[in-house]
Structures are given as C-alpha cells and as structure tokens.
Symmetry: none
Subunit: 225 residues, 4 copies
Amino acid sequence: MAGTKGKRMPRAVREQQMLDAAVTIFARRGYRAASMDEIAELAGVSKPLVYLYLNSKEELFSACIRREAAALVTAVRAAVEPRDTPPDRQLWSGLRGFFAHTAERPDGWAVLHNQARTHGEPFVSEFAAMREEIVTFVTQLIAAAAQEDDCVPDLADREVAGLAHALVGAAESLAGWANDPGDGADRPSAKETAALLMNFAWAGLANLMEGRPWHPRGRTTARRS
Amino acid sequence: MAGTKGKRMPRAVREQQMLDAAVTIFARRGYRAASMDEIAELAGVSKPLVYLYLNSKEELFSACIRREAAALVTAVRAAVEPRDTPPDRQLWSGLRGFFAHTAERPDGWAVLHNQARTHGEPFVSEFAAMREEIVTFVTQLIAAAAQEDDCVPDLADREVAGLAHALVGAAESLAGWANDPGDGADRPSAKETAALLMNFAWAGLANLMEGRPWHPRGRTTARRS
Amino acid sequence: MAGTKGKRMPRAVREQQMLDAAVTIFARRGYRAASMDEIAELAGVSKPLVYLYLNSKEELFSACIRREAAALVTAVRAAVEPRDTPPDRQLWSGLRGFFAHTAERPDGWAVLHNQARTHGEPFVSEFAAMREEIVTFVTQLIAAAAQEDDCVPDLADREVAGLAHALVGAAESLAGWANDPGDGADRPSAKETAALLMNFAWAGLANLMEGRPWHPRGRTTARRS
Amino acid sequence: MAGTKGKRMPRAVREQQMLDAAVTIFARRGYRAASMDEIAELAGVSKPLVYLYLNSKEELFSACIRREAAALVTAVRAAVEPRDTPPDRQLWSGLRGFFAHTAERPDGWAVLHNQARTHGEPFVSEFAAMREEIVTFVTQLIAAAAQEDDCVPDLADREVAGLAHALVGAAESLAGWANDPGDGADRPSAKETAALLMNFAWAGLANLMEGRPWHPRGRTTARRS
DNA sequence: GATGAATGAGATTTCATTCAT
DNA sequence: AATGAATGAAATCTCATTCAT
C-alpha cells in the first residue's frame, strides 16, 4: 500500500517506503512482535532488500526512531515563535506545533512514545536525546519566565527540572489522549489541546477555577494582573 | 532467587512466587523478549508447573497486570484522606501514596506503565481500566473544587477530562523521573515529588513565580487569598 | 537410522546419537554445507532438541572433533607397546593402531582430517592439540632411536621436528589411501599399511631397493647389521 | 585491492583479476563461506560481471582449481632435471620445485590442498587428476630406481603405489609445515625442506641415524656405497 | 505435585543469482 | 562492457507449549 509497488526505484525512495512501512508496523505490533516479513510486504518489496538497505531489525528500528524524532523536533522548532516573544507565548506556540505533529503522524508518535522507551539500550538513548532537547527548551522557558518575574521563591535547579519533566509528561499524555479521547468523542484540535495544557500548567488549577485562566496575549510578558 | 526452592509449597504461595518472577522479568525484558524459561528459573520451579498454574504466557502477563494494578489502586486509595477533606488535600495525599508505591515497586510500575500499554489488546484494556479508575477519581476532585469555588468559567466536561488526563500524565512521567532523575542526582522522596506536582498543577507556573506556591493547608478549603 | 527412533531416551544416549549423526553428515558434506536439519533428521530427533543439548552448530562441531580426537588418541595409546620395547616396534604398533582405527571409523577420521583443519579457529586448535600429542610421541621415538644408535650426524631439533611432521603427514595421507585405493583395488589391511609406512620411513627407499627392508623384530633394539 | 579498478579492461585480464581474488577468498574463508560479494569486491568489479565471465560459483571454483593445479604441475615439471639424471636427483629437483611453488603461492596451495579435496564431487576429481599426475611421476621414479638397483624384493605394483602415496602425502604435509612451522620459528627454505624429505624418504630413518644420510650427488646413479 | 524429554512453528539473516538499463 | 536493483530459497536459532512418568 505504501509501496506503489512499481519496480526499480532509486534507492533513496525505496528506503523511505521501507521506513514508512516499518513505522506503521512497529507502532501497531511493538518492536519484538513486528516481523520483518510483514514490514517488507507492506513496503512492497522482498525481505532481502530491506536487509540490503537497512542491515538489521535493530538498525531499521533505530532509523525509524531517528527519522521520527528529527521530524518531531523540526516541527516543534518551526512552530516556536522567536526569542523576543514572551516565554508563555513561546511555550504556547511550541505546544501547538507539538500537538499538530503528533496528530498528523500518530504512528510516528507511537513508535517514539511507546516503543523507543521500552526496548532497551540502543533505542532509549536515541529517544532520550530528543526528549532532552525538548526538556531543555522548556527548562529555559521556565527559567526565563522566572527571571522576568523576579521570581520570588528562587526555584532550585532540581525543581525547575522536575517542573519541566512534569510539563513534558503532561504533554506526552495529552498527545495520546487527543488522538483518542474516550467515549468516541471527537478529537480536540491541536490548538484546543495546547490551550488546555497551558491553562493547566501556566495558570494552575486554582487560578483556573477562580476565573483567571491563562490567555494568549500579544507579544508582551505574560502576567495576570 | 525469589523461589526459596523448597519443594511442596501450597499452591497460592507458589503462584505468588511465579508472579514475582514474572513481574521482574517482564519489567526487565519486555513482554515479548521475556522467556518462560527465564521466568520459571527465577521462580525456582519447572516450566510445566508454570503452565499448570497460569496456563499461558498471555494469562501470566494478564495476571501480573491485574495484581500490580490492584496493588497500586489499593495503595492510592489507602493514602487518600477522607471525603470531607478539601479537594487539594485529597489530591495531595493521593499523590503521595502514588509516588510512594511506584518507588517501592519499580518493577510493578514498569510493567504497568511500559509494558501493559504497549502490547496490544488483551492488556491495554486491563491497564486502561485501572487508569480510568484513577482518572475518574481525579476528575471528581477537580469537579468538586470547581463547585466549591463557584467556578466562574464553567468548565466543560471535556475540559475537566482533559485536565485530569494532563495531571495523571504528569504524575506518570514524574514517577519515572523520581525513580531515576538524570545526572546521578539522588532520588526525591515521594513527598517532594508530590509537592512538586501540586505546585505545578494546582498553583500553576505563573503563580509559582510570583511567590504564591501551593501549600498544604489543614483540612479547610484550599484557596490562595 | 542411527536413532532407533524410540521416544524418551535419557539425555546421555540421545547426545551420542546426535554426535553419531553429526559426524556422518559433517564428513559427507563438510562443515558449512552440513545442515542442522539433516543432522537432526538422521539422529531421529527434532532440531530444537539438538540445540537444547548441543547449543549451536559450532559447539556441535567442536564436540564431534573432541570426541573423535579422543577416540583416536585412545586407540593409538592402547595399541602402542610398552616403553621398554625398541622404538621401531613402538612406532610400528602405534601405526597399526592408527590405521586400524581410521579404517574402522572413516567418518570420524574424515571429520578430523578434512574438516577440522579447514574451518578456522575454534576448530583448528582442537585438532592441532591432538595432532601435537601424536607428533610429540613420534618425536620422542625418533629421538630415542637416535640416542640408542649414538646417532652420528647429531640431528638438530628442527630436523627431528620436520621428520616427525613428514612421518605423520605420510601416515595421514596413507590413511586416506588405505580407505580408498584407486582402481577399485581392495583395501590393504591396517597391518599392511603400517608395514608399508615402516619400510618407507624407517628403512628408506634406497635400503628397500637393495634388499634390506625393515622388519619387525622381537623386543630388542632395532638395528640392521 | 587486486583490481586496479581501472575501467574497460580486456576480458582476459579481468578474468585473471577475478581468479586472483577468488583464490584469495576461497583460501581464507573456505568454499562455502566465501561469498561472491566479497570476491567481486576484492576483484574490483560488480557481481554481475563475475557471473558474466565465470557463470557460477561452482565454475568459478573449478576454474581456480584448474588454474592453480596447472601452475603447480608446470612449476614442478620445469624444475625436474632431465630423464637421464638418476632418479633420486630427479625426485630431489622436483621436490625443490614443489616446495618453492607452494611457498610462493600459499593461497593457491591452500585452495588445492584444503578446499578442493573437501568439497564434494566436481572438485575432488579435478584435484585428483593433478595429484595423480604427480603420483604417477613419482611412481615411475621409484620403479626406475628399483630397476637400476636390480631391486631384490621385487616390489609389487601396489606397494610402489603405496610408497608413492606416502611420499606425496609427506610432501603435502611438509608444504604446510614449511609455510608455518610452530613456535614462530622462521621458515625453512624450499631447499632445506626438500633435503629433509629426501633424507626421510630415500635414506630412511635408520640410515640417517647411523650416519648415512642421503646426499645429492652429481648426475650418476644414486647409491650408498 | 512436579518434571525431564520433546517439538511445531516461526523469527532473523545470508547468499547465489538474475533483470533492466 | 558493466552495473544498480531486486529476489527465491534456505540456513541457524528461539520459544511457547505438551507429553509421559
């Protein structure tokens, strides 16, 4: 199906077809349960060709992770508004990019989120590298916001790190939820999901309840009153 | 060796030994990569006995999930303070119970978090059932808080659900982080982790920065002003 | 055929059956061309059982080499006459044992002679160890004979080693020839072959032609005049 | 890289490059383990070209055997001194040629000695044909010497054949030993090796010990006293 | 209650070989 | 003359699972 089964394609094209198929199958079955047979068939080629180009199941999986991680990071980067924008707006735009991308490539996201983390060493590191990049970005935003606000309680580094992890974890969880909210309800748009998370994380539940939700505001520092 | 290898134990005991071994191996290797041989060996029994008691790899895995899920829910339930406590305190106590449990049984948590979700249908549902129970609990807490506060913006059900998912996702992420924060830093206690998440979720980052962190307050409604 | 195909045999027995089959197939096809399928079938068991007991093709091959090498060395040792016998008689008796054994187990000999030497490192060493044992024995005999004779030209160590290698090489070659002399001629007995080699090696072609062949003589030092 | 990788060479040259590469790889890996890929790469050409010229792995291997066998026989023939020379001198000169050649082309010799014999029917015959040529030559020399000497015991044909086989086997064994004597000792020259074998075979160990080694003597009949 | 013996089915991987250009 | 693209067939090895005792 992915393969257009036309014979004699240049190597680069075939490779992408194989990666497409592999991502689909890995997402559907999991790393171990996925069989090279099925991947090859979905890619519309013979198994030996997959080995000729990608060398082994492990390398194939790694290649998938790298491709999908790169695509995700690129999408987020492209979405983030420039440096001189206030931190909350930067975060907000980044989240929109993130949710848009995960909605668009659910299989890719599944491979990253469900498989890469779960299957031991060569892979965890590759995934961790990407995650770290995002966590770092978020950490910097939080730190920047703290700076601007003359943050009173003087957050310790570890606390900042913990908060960034909580935020990223929440985003990851929401990405899954947004692709499949229970009850057959229809899916929230990337924008809605991002707004939800901004309210949760930036404003805090208490504020939210007292009628002071976070709200995107032009390119000035975000503050409540 | 979990098995104490003494012969002729009553069935119930042997079964628990097998489940212990299975949880360890499933956590370490993943569902597919775990071999019944290794599990039987670690349990200190022969393979046919495992089959006699647990019937198949699938059922064994299911049994693990059910046991660990039940243990986790029980632990959280036991930790939550009673109904008449203000919602934020209930959440706070529940989170402490959650993080304490995941820290105490990392393998059990790994099986639930990493494996159950990742390996297709019989299992996802079993995990989802437990998660739903917790999400529901959190949802009710949020709704209750909204009620008390005369929540102005009138949160839609879907929003509440989304917020609960974000919170649970953040908690899950932090459970992993708390068991292994980067840089070889030492692990935060369950209490610290819970506090971190409460600040993130309840107060919101903005409040945090302006010197108004969330803080456990006696058994009265949590409010800032 | 080798397997007697009766089910449920004790492990030790099955293992010997497998080694029997393996030796036959390795001799017939060569190490690489031999397939585990064929070996298992000839042994009358399923392939997994072969792996369960012998672990891998490599280990199976090693086990064959070790078993056959040990059998050969044992046979030669048992045949050699005791220390106080003159060297030429010791050699003569050892050669008879050698040719008798190689005639009796042609497949075993083929595995040692044709396969072990030819297929790289784990194996060459195992074969070399056995060969060295025999070469050493021959070397000592030659040295002993030299001593007794007050050997005039004072053979250098390297020369002795070379002579021993030549003798062993000749024996190895004759073992093949004795099992299959050209022209469909019938096979010489072990005794005949040993005599041939003794004449060649001990007396030398020149002596032979001038009517002074080597001849087994009672248990006194071998000497011509 | 044997191939000089220059494009567009005449067929004959390309073929020799391929055979060179094939001999190297077959010697190093063995027939089965050698891959056409590796051979083509070492030859500096693409695989289809190898097939275009040599048709199949089997034919390629056969071609190697034939080329190396022919080269060896040619080398030995060229070295043997003419008919009117005494038999022992003829043998002596032939052996020098043999050892010189095997030392000069160890890979070629390895293919003949280790691989050709070991890998079943099309090949054994090709090797056997060459070996037979040499055995026949040696047989004639022995017979000639017997004639000259008025050989007393009247050697039977089979005995002569056996002796020739023993001599050739010893030579083959020494060729291996001369290319790699143990202990990292340095290699004996072709001349030394040939002398060693002449002593062993022609004089016999007994003579040797009593101070009557064989010695190349001018172009008159070899005899001891 | 417990286990040593055994296997059917299927996984990854390799290789000789051929088209189409 | 030469090659990049592609494959059918088979190899080694693993694993969940079941008898027979």
